[in-house]
Symmetry: C2
Amino acid sequence: MVKQALWIVSILLASSVAMAQETSIVHDGEFEFLRAQFGEEWDAQDLKIDTRLAEIRETNGGKPPNILYILIDDVSFGQMGSRTLNYVTGIDTPNINEFASEGMSLMRMYTEPSCTPTRAAFLTGRQPYRAGIEEVKVALVGEGLAAEEVTIAEILKEEGYNTSHVGKWHQGDIEQAYPHNQGFDWAAFPLHQQVQLSLMTREAMQANNMLGFHASGQSNEFALDQRFNPYGLVTGVEAEAGGMAREVDLEPGEEWTQAHYEEMNERYQRQIIEQLEDLAAKDEPFFLQYWPLYPLNFVYPEQAISRNGGFHADKLQLLDGWLGELFEKVDELGISDNTIVVLMADNGLMYHYEGTSGLSQLIYRGGKTQHLEGGVRTDAFVRWPGVIEAGSAAGDIVHVSDLFTTFARIAGATEHIPRDRVIDGIDQTALLLEGEGNSRRDYVYNYEGLTLRSVVKREFKMHVPPPGVPGAAAPVFNIYRDPREENPQIGNALWAGASFQDMIKRHVLKINEYPHLPLGKGKPYEGIENLRPESVETREVFDSWH
Amino acid sequence: MVKQALWIVSILLASSVAMAQETSIVHDGEFEFLRAQFGEEWDAQDLKIDTRLAEIRETNGGKPPNILYILIDDVSFGQMGSRTLNYVTGIDTPNINEFASEGMSLMRMYTEPSCTPTRAAFLTGRQPYRAGIEEVKVALVGEGLAAEEVTIAEILKEEGYNTSHVGKWHQGDIEQAYPHNQGFDWAAFPLHQQVQLSLMTREAMQANNMLGFHASGQSNEFALDQRFNPYGLVTGVEAEAGGMAREVDLEPGEEWTQAHYEEMNERYQRQIIEQLEDLAAKDEPFFLQYWPLYPLNFVYPEQAISRNGGFHADKLQLLDGWLGELFEKVDELGISDNTIVVLMADNGLMYHYEGTSGLSQLIYRGGKTQHLEGGVRTDAFVRWPGVIEAGSAAGDIVHVSDLFTTFARIAGATEHIPRDRVIDGIDQTALLLEGEGNSRRDYVYNYEGLTLRSVVKREFKMHVPPPGVPGAAAPVFNIYRDPREENPQIGNALWAGASFQDMIKRHVLKINEYPHLPLGKGKPYEGIENLRPESVETREVFDSWH
């Protein structure tokens, strides 16, 4: 009893220290602008929240909550978690819908518009342009997430979490960027992404989705360069922290096929279950990532399982079943109450394959690569039984980077967040614990790559006009009235245009104060112990000009 | 006891007679094509259903179920009944959402693309082109629903129902078309529609939504015709069956204003509650229609109540509250269990006011007047506690005309459906009682006015090509994969195009066998006992050239 009381005191002390340091996190100018309006209110609320977090921890014998973070690829808002929209698309996601009903639906989660940036934003709590990060291409690049970036895995590790990663990574082909060098104790991941894994196959060429790549479908006797078509790329690897990665999917000389891709997906599904079992059995809390490659897939299965039948849609329904297994395993292991599970997508659909993929622009316009709502709005659900109200929803604005800061806070690891750079992620613990209306963010800056393309405040969104064009002439949309951003209204622009320009000024001032950090650079494919000869050859050709 | 047993026997006998006659209802060729494939199965199911209907009636002391039919104006699929989509639009409809959760959501309800046609299809069970019906314009037309058409109100009246209508009617300005001459014991309705009532005001001109109509905003000294701007139109009237209508909203010489429009809406809300109370107190079952004029409205209120704030959106949220009162009254009167309540919209949004109205093309493309899914897909919910499963949903195709045949069946009034004309409405009692997968329709023919514009079968939809163009060259869409009908696929058209052409042949053959009936014609404004002098004058000018 005495020991427990002491424990609570120590937690409260630790968190008040953390809070003191929290105030010194460097946030974007817009957050400071809000903090100037709401700081006292938030500080008072934070005291209450610290008490609540300490109580929760006490209930769990002093163990901070486990975190399971599931990030699905390229699925726009509305494609998962809603029965109504299941009917529209002919894709059933009963397990995701049920999962959603057990926690809070974040109805206005913003991501970055592409895979690499969203994942980097989550991992570092920073919008990716701040570290020079754009979408990592499929070929060798010799670039990636810099060692200097501090990931949520590193932060949670400092606090004693065990950390594992399973599935897509997409943070570059240089050694410092690999997950086991970025805070994960163990990782199974492909070095590249689905353009390699699900499209660069004979089957995807025959399905008419990958054109001109595979030699069996197109050869040109006048071709000179034998490296224009990517060749010898590393596929799936596994590694432990501090160790070498080991390629596990291909033997030397073997060709990557749709069957390999399907096996890889199935393997990750097996591995996430295994990891969950292993980590749940340990004394320490865990942080576990599952970043599936599906629904991206470009070849029809032997037999479709969904009414939709499109090659993405069908795999989304398959994935729903797989996630059902995973959720069941969480329950079966008896860790549900002390495990925060977040499920979301990384960005909008790959609209380039509309009509046959089965995923279409549904509510919002646009998709992957675009700053339009269809590119940066995704379904997001958070479950934490007994803490987050089941069946709840929040219409507040949240950005994927907020999860970084929020997870750190909940784990009691806020003090490990670096203070020498801008952290975009806002602590949203109040929203999760106190419910709708408690977000500390009412804005988002939407970038495409390194370029600011739009600014969101409340229900208003300005598409950034070309340089020199005044805000009053920029297209400003009311997202509630015009979710597809098709009818800009001068009546909005004439007052909000100027306010948006002020927002941009506050944003740029902070960039001037904290200039962007450089992208990680290096030789590709280092730190892999069993590079295939064709990968060695590819790297040598790459190095020869580099 | 003996009396009850006799009752059941008489019901079973009556319904087996009804069923024998049901087979002789003249349906479209496509239904006969389906019946040839499923007739025996359906007959067996119908026997079971008749037993069930008799049991339900017995439970209610022999009283057939009351029917309350609520039809909302110009709201596309997804705008009501879904929390997710409430968040998207910033329009809260908690009462409708709760109502939806208490019954079955019809996820694929097709309507006609405009007010008059959808309402006529419901009233007569016939697609409106069969009776020459197109959208009734706002000015004097001397046309309307023909006396020869047999409405669901007339059919239910034959079976002893009391019948009332409150709200929008929009079936023409001739006496035979008035609701109290089409089967309703009592009716309160405006003679025209919202273009007159919500737009032809000084306030709508000042709100910049009605241009060039009101003399206070635009006058032209060179104008000759004083009747180009409609003038002296009759507004709201009330009447009893067989009696004269009486204008109730305007005094002679008075100008119609936004305040009048709001009062009219509020009056209909009061009157629907009054009607419900009166009808519930009677021994006979009732058929009661509430066809609100809201959300159509073009002037901002003193203070918006929704986050969206658009002039349609805000009234939709207001209407949600009003419907909440109505649903509560149904419960309070103790008639919930024996009352079927259907709530739906008549067609897609009035997209012409997108950006400011607050309703936008959301999931499906298009709106009012268009055969696109955005024009003919609306939210539809059916509640019948203890009979229809709460929280259920059906992805089956249903057409608004099916309600005619289904209501008749449930009321035991099938025998009164005329046998001398095509009835498009399919009996969907099996769907309501046995649940999803029991629709007897997998097709719809979509007309715009008198022109066939598209044909739907399952998830496929062909836009009808111009005459002479073969089906293989017509755009064919997969609605699940491409809800916005933007990516026609030759791979669909090359097989389905021919099948669609066959469907059209079956449809046209039946039209040749049962030619269209004529639209009702007559002198406008007859049967109104207190015509204002300005209305008399307007009719005289109309008659002078007619």
